[in-house]
Symmetry: C2
Subunit: 142 residues, 2 copies
């Protein structure tokens, strides 16, 4: 489909994939750890990890040769997907967190403050929300 949303969903649209990415982002990088933390079936986890490696967002790295043991790390392509995860966090915090407040906080290195993501325009640096744009056909249209 000539739609960048659909193409992005081809990579992380399958069930569990975003949560697997989140785990690896926060340092839970091994098969057993991820399986226990998320509680998904080993079969599906194996399928997802394989798929995410094939799609270039994860790397399978041997951290012990005897016995052979592997961990999964984010590629640059995968790290940029984590920006998407932070955007999901922002929406979830705003609309689903309830009185208890957000379960996880994020401190921005540059200013040291607990903060969250706001979408800005790459050209003029001002806020840019879905209501602030016109949608036009591009060169890669069908």
């Amino acid at each position: 489909m000539a739609c960048s949303i659909a193409r992005t969903l081809d990579v992380i649209g399958e069930p569990w994939s975003p949560l697997i990415l989140r785990d690896i982002y926060v340092g839970i990088t091994r098969f057993e750890q991820i399986q226990q933390e998320l509680g998904l079936s080993r079969k599906v986890l194996a399928e997802r990890l394989k798929g995410l490696v094939e799609k270039g967002v994860l790397e399978r790295r041997e951290y012990s040769s005897r016995p052979p043991r592997y961990e999964y790390t984010l590629t640059p392509k995968g790290l940029e997907l984590c920006d998407l995860l932070l955007t999901m966090v922002r929406w979830g915090d705003r609309w689903t967190a309830g009185d208890a407040g957000p379960p996880v906080l994020y401190r921005h290195h540059a200013c040291g403050e607990i903060s969250h993501i706001e979408p800005h325009c790459a050209k003029c640096d001002r806020p840019m929300h879905a209501t602030d744009v016109d949608v036009l056909p591009g060169p890669g249209a069908a």
Copy 2:
């Protein structure tokens, strides 16, 4: 799960949901139109629309009383989800568009330029990527 990513996925994590939202965002608001544009089964579309209305991101609005006809529109909660869609677009354009270029362009009202979303810090306004933050437990942690 005490995770805003999981909670966001409860809302738009099911197959087709983000694409349905996209269609409604760009003005494809009726059952028949969406079904034809996406090519999903009528059954699943009916289920998704009902679910998205229950979760408060869509509104079912009667636009003709005899015969009774309905269209779907975004609530404020749903409109903010479209920021997430634009973030998905950004990643898809960058990593999956190929030589043809992006299939859709977005013009920012404020500056009139074709642009895209960059995540910035809500506190200091500087760029804020997944690599630029520390992850800490928050008040709503398990």
